[in-house]
Each structure stands twice: as structure tokens, then as C-alpha cells.
Amino acid sequence: MRGILWAIVMLLTASWVTLPLQSKIERQRLRLKFGGAPVTREMRDVMGQGMLIGVLAGFRGVVANFVWISSHGDWEKKRWFQQYNKMQVATMLQPRSVLFWDVGAWHMAWNIGYAERTDPRHRTLAEGMKREMLWHERARRFLIRGIQNLPNRYELYFKLGWLYEQKFKDPCLAAEQYAIAAQFTNAPAFIARMHCRNLAACGRLNEAYECWKRLWFDPAQTNHVSRSILAREIRKLEDEMNLSDSQRFFPRASRQPETQ
């Protein structure tokens, strides 16, 4: 009996000693955004009993993958809403997966959107287009939620910009997103160029001109292909803005930049 009492004392002491360490680790987990959302009834309904046990046993990633893979089956059977629900659950289980947000939004805006527009069950093309727009909106909200979960990754800002540019035909909103994405040090150089191009398409020509000129001095844009794109875009804008030779970065006579 004395041994059992000692054992209880040991365990109580351990939990008392580790209490501050545990709360420290938990705070750190929260700060680093480790793990996913807590399991809810909605998740349980979509996942089923078996997968729920997997989540409870700590196999969140594996279950998220199985949910994601099973959404592929729904895609093949054209069950868009089931696919949508499963994508929601997969992102709930792994909210820090860029891939789930990125591919999910791409499916909604491009694949499902197109399938809805061309679905012969819709009586008119207008109805199909209306449904397509609903999916574009779903993709937009999906990406915004993704950004809220992953604010420190450039990929989703870029994808949202791409969505605004390609599907919403809104270069102004696209430029805003590209601007944010381009600020990340690991963002590819072409995103900064897309920002400038969309500023021009938005009608903010002066800002676009300054943007292109700034890129000319950017060390990330030094390869000869980037240089030729920059020179072409700057000249195009200068012509479009009808600038005089003195105002031009590339004076018409020399066709060389004033400063290097």
C-alpha cells in the first residue's frame, strides 16, 4: 500500500512540476499556430466514425489526406457540394496547408466553375454563368480564409490576385494582392511585374510607371529576360502616357535608359 501511495505522490509531483512547462508549450503552440481547429460536430458528420477516431488518436494529417482524396471521388462524380464540404473539412484539419487552400480554390474557380457554366442541365447560359460566379465567390472566400490562416506565405496572396485578375476581371484588386505577395523575400520576381502590369490595367498609370521604374533597379530583376520585359513595359507606358523626351526613362532618340 505504501508503494501505491508513493506512486501517486510521484505522479502528482510530476504533474505539479510540469504544469508551468505545459502552459509554456501550449502558449508556444498557439503562437506558432500548430495543430488544426478543434473537432466539431460538422467535421464528425463529414468524416465518419473511423476517421474521427484517427483524428482523436493524433493522426490529423493522414485523415486530412484521406478526406482530400475522397473529395477527388466526388469531383469525378460531379458532386460539387460534397467535394466542397470535404475541402472545408480538410482545411479545418490542416489549416496550415497551402496546398489545400490553393488547389481547393483552383478547383472551385476553374474546374467546378467551368463545369457549372457548361452543364447542359441548366436551361440557359445565363443560369450557368450565374452559378459559375457563385463558385468564383466561394473560391475567393476560401482563399481569404486561407490567408487568415497563413498570413506569412506569399502563395495565397498571389493566388487571390490571380483569381481577381482571371475570373473577376478586376485588375485593381489583383494589383493589391500582387503587391502584398511581392513584398515577401521568397516571392518569385514575376509577381512584382504582375503587380505593375495590373496597376496599369487598373488605370493607375502613374503608379504603374513608378512601379516599373522601381523594378528596373531591383536586383531580383537583373536577368536579361526580365530586363527586356521591363524595357518593353516602360516604353509602352511612356507611349501610352504620351510623355515628353525629358520625362521619359527611355528617351525616344536613344531608346536607352537615362540612368542605370
Partner: protein
């Protein structure tokens, strides 16, 4: 001569080591272990075939998606089979010794009960180390094989006539795939996975010091395993109550050891976090083993 006089006076690490090596050899020869490790290896090796499912666009996106699936699947397999080996391998240590009566011959020698118990635990921890190492090697090989395949595909798709932008893009894709395959943070995930299994083995041994059968030991430890993963969520709900927090902290929070998901998703895992969780696990492990020694010291054998 009384029982107390027969007990050796000094605590011997060499005796613990001898028992540990013996336990390891015995465990490695067991069919259950061999079947479990064989299944684990087959599953990990076949992960590259399972990862054919994917929704991404062909090319880099598909490669990244499938590498992610593969990592999730393999780390999941290591966790599941590691858990089975930890629980099944440790739960039978004491009951088998008692049933085969080999414990009498060992304890009749100048071996303390605590040395016997610690030797059994170290043997079990070594078994887990060997198992995790074998599974990790297979995982690394499968990942490299898959990664190299993708690298070959991407390099093959870009011919020498490609423009420098496309070449640059291809190089970036290659770098990203390389970073995914040769991710050193995976070692942190494996280290914490091993520590979790070592803690689980300690808990199983503690349970088996008062447990009456292998089934009882396995059932209780599996319940503790599930409770250990739920305790984090339970603590969140009862944040205000200090008493509830204290009671919940009696069960080890095994969720803290799960960083595999975050490693796979490319989130940085600071070493400080790994060390803190390792320290937490070690404190808990020492307490559990000490409790096991206390209970086993009084057990009738």
C-alpha cells in the same frame, strides 16, 4: 538470511544494461514484433504507390501534393506501428516473466527489483529506437526515390532550348522539391515521435506493474493514449479552473509531441519547442518509472 540482506547494496548500471540487452534480444526474436515491423516497412515502401491520388495540376503542384501525402502517410505509419510496438512489446514483458517463472531466477540473483524493472524499460526503449530507426530509413529511401523521380521528370520536361525564364522557373521548382524531400525538420518530428513512444512504453510498464494480464495492460494503455491526445482540447475548455488543469495534467499531453503535420506543411519548428517538449516528456517519464518502481517493489511475485 533475511530477504533484505540478500539484496545487493549498490545500484548497478551494468546489471540494468545486461537485462536491457536481454530484453531487446528476446523482443527482436518475437514473431509479433517481426510481423509488425514487416507490415510497417511494406506500408512505408508502398506509400509511393498510394500517393498516386491527387487533385493538383500536373507538374510541380502535383509533385508537392504527392510528396506531402507520402510524408503524412509514412509518418502516420511510423506513429501507428510505433505505438503498437510500444504497447504490445512492453505490455507483455512482466506478465511473460511471471508466467514463465523466469522472474524468480533473475530476482534470486543479486539483482534489485528496480534494476530489473529499469532494465526491462531500457530494453523496450532500445527496441523502439531500433524500430523507429528502421522505419525512418525506409521512409527516407522511399521519399528520396519519389523525389528523384519528380526531379527527373521536371528536368526532362525542360529541354536545352528553353528560355532563361523557363530555365529559372525549372530551377526554382527543383529547389522547392529538393527542400521538400531533404527537409531536416523531419528529424525533429521523428525525434519527438520517438520520445512519445518511449513515454508510452514507460506508461505501459507502469500499468503492467499492477496489471494482471497482457490484455488489461494493453487496454488501459490504449485508453491513456487516446486520453493523452484529448487532454489538450479538454484543457482548452477548462482554462479558468486551476484544479481541472492540475487534474488534466496527470495525464500526459501526447498531442504536444505531434509536430509531424506542421513539419510536412513547411512550418518552422524551433529547437526550443523540441527541447521543451523533450524536457516535459523526460520529467513525466522519470515520474512514471519511479511510480512503477514503487508499485513493483511491493508486488507479490
Amino acid at each position: 538470511m533475511t530477504e533484505k540482506e540478500q539484496e545487493p547494496r549498490l545500484f548497478s548500471l551494468s546489471r540494468i544494461w545486461t537485462i536491457a540487452l536481454n530484453t531487446l534480444t528476446e523482443s527482436l526474436r518475437q514473431k509479433v514484433y517481426l510481423i509488425l515491423i514487416l507490415f510497417a516497412l511494406v506500408l512505408i515502401a508502398s506509400a509511393s504507390f498510394f500517393s498516386q491520388f491527387g487533385l493538383g495540376e500536373p507538374g510541380e503542384q502535383e509533385a508537392m501534393e504527392q510528396l506531402k501525402f507520402m510524408k503524412d502517410f509514412c509518418l502516420g505509419a511510423i506513429a501507428v506501428f510505433g505505438m503498437l510496438i510500444a504497447i504490445v512489446g512492453t505490455a507483455q514483458l512482466l506478465p511473460n516473466e511471471l508466467e514463465n517463472r523466469t522472474i524468480y531466477t533473475i530476482l534470486a540473483k543479486p539483482v534489485r527489483r528496480c534494476e530489473f524493472l529499469l532494465g526491462k524499460y531500457v530494453g523496450s526503449a532500445l527496441l523502439l529506437l531500433v524500430s523507429v530507426a528502421i522505419m525512418s530509413l525506409m521512409f527516407a529511401a522511399a521519399l528520396k526515390f519519389k523525389g528523384d523521380n519528380y526531379l527527373r521528370l521536371i528536368r526532362g520536361a525542360a529541354g536545352p532550348q528553353e528560355s532563361s525564364v523557363e530555365w529559372e522557373q525549372m530551377q526554382r521548382q527543383v529547389e522547392r522539391i529538393r527542400a521538400t524531400v531533404y527537409d531536416t525538420d523531419l528529424a525533429k518530428a521523428l525525434l519527438l515521435a520517438y520520445l512519445k513512444l518511449a513515454l508510452l512504453a514507460g506508461i505501459t510498464l507502469f500499468v503492467s506493474t499492477f496489471g494482471t494480464s497482457i490484455i488489461f495492460n494493453v487496454a488501459v494503455t490504449v485508453m491513456i493514449f487516446f486520453a493523452g491526445h484529448l487532454v489538450g482540447a479538454a484543457k482548452e475548455r477548462w482554462l479558468e479552473s486551476g484544479v481541472a488543469q492540475f487534474l488534466f495534467s496527470l495525464i500526459p499531453d501526447l498531442g504536444m509531441f505531434n509536430v509531424a503535420d506542421d513539419v510536412i506543411l513547411g512550418n518552422a519548428i524551433p529547437w526550443l519547442y523540441v527541447l521543451q517538449v523533450a524536457a516535459y516528456g523526460m520529467v513525466y517519464l522519470v515520474a512514471v518509472l519511479a511510480a512503477a518502481v514503487c508499485v513493483f517493489a511491493e508486488r507479490e511475485v
